[in-house]
Amino acid sequence: MAEEGKPVPKPPAAQAGSAAPKAPPQMAATPWESELTQALAARFGDEILEFSSYLGQEFLVARPAAVIPILEWLKTEAGFDYLVDITAVDYPARAERFELFYILYSFARNQRIRIKTNLPDGGRPATATGVHLTANWLEREVFDMFGIEFAGHPDLRRILMPEEWQGHPLRKDYSILTQDQAWVRENLGIESAQ
């Protein structure tokens, strides 16, 4: 592993690994408290499960149904008018398999926050296109790569993969060597694209 005596500073909770084999190591996040979190907690109550900060980057975890109202509230009341990115992470072992990320920025506050929510396979989060126009392509990419369908999206089609492609490449059970053989055979006229 690392060179002797020169480890990278590690948050203590991240070293759980060998001591407790059952529980996977957790992110060593610290609570995030500010005027903004108080206002959000007052407005959304237990719809928001967690306010945390990791390495100085703040994020909150919300229930899926609350995400769009939170985005809307943050945009109109708190100045978070720029949706930087939407993306997802796949954890196949979890009951709520997908973690959906919304990264927001406020020009007025010069502050960046993340909203996270957990979804089961087949969960249909509402689209953010009504709040931020930029969500259109970003959600199409998440749909393309993870197969998460956004309810109410005006044009939910694949964006990077071919339209007829089967499977969603960024899912963890889609190996890097997996491909849609039938599509490759039919459209490229070869047996394998490897």
Binding site: A2, M27, V84, I103, H132, L160, M161
Partner: protein
Amino acid sequence: MADPTFLDSTELVLNMGPQHPSTHGVLRVILKLDGEKVLGTECVIGYLHRGVEKIGENRTYQMFAPYVDRTDYVASVSNGLGYCLAVEKLLNVEAPPRAQAVRVILTELNRISSHLVWLGTHCLDIGAITPLFYTFREREMIMDIYEKYCGARLTTHAFRIGGLQYELYEGFEQECRDLCDWFLPRVDEYEQLLTGNRILVARMTNVGVLTAEDCKAYGVTGPMLRAAGVPWDLRKAQPYSGYEQYEFEIPTGKNGDTYDRYLVRMEEMRQSVRIIRQAADRIPDGPIMAKVPKVIKPPVGEVYVSIEAPKGELGYLIVSDGSTQPYRVRIRPPSFINLQSLDKMARGALVADIVAIIGTIDIVLGEVDR
């Protein structure tokens, strides 16, 4: 004899690309036209999709670094900087001051060379052939510096996680200064040639207008946002790699049209020269690598780090599960997100304007498709 409806107007659907030279690679735009007027557009992208994010999950942190160079390949140094900063943040280390100064110099050289590619090709698209030869002459000099420094010209892989791989070669600073001295009058030369040129002005003024509100709604960043009058630059707003030490200005435009974007990028090249001169004069002594373990295993966690790439906000969201490979790497590509605003800019424009508008977004399809 002739069909009585022969002269009726109908809507026409026209395919532009994916092999059209003015689409800067393999972008396909489906245009819906009423005569010359554009009623709507649809971008078909993904022709260059190589699954870079998936590759990232299957490589170690160091092994993935050269891949990011190949997303936006005309700004590979910027990509590398963003990736290294993100992994360093995850490891909670910081590159030493000497490495930071060198990173700033190389990244600003890269901004100039990216803008030079944009200028040459954009002018080519709208009918001026000469600027391409000028801009590529200067770009060649920048590439020579890269080549002398790290051996590569285009996909440089110039940085390492924690700092730099190579110590500077003898005379690096002087070469950078000489380049700046040579280059600054060349920008004036371009401007003499282009800024007042009646054809160019006519092709660019009031074409592809995006207001500041539109930019924010579409998440458009970089020179496009600044041309709409928003003085927002991550190098100033959230400085990284020691940018707070250097004096420079954020050029802005007023109208948010193609012409203002042109002016903003021209001025940005001058500001980059300013930064390079300051940095070259005071590269601190010291180590070029921070203390980073040979095997990089960041603790469980996630970070989002973004930099001001030549095209806008370039971000990396990296999720670590405590192993030697990233659990997830997400690249927030400025080209992809800026391209989404094409439809907004194109509606009501003429077909010829589409060429000018695509040029002014300054897309690189390697980054759009990843």
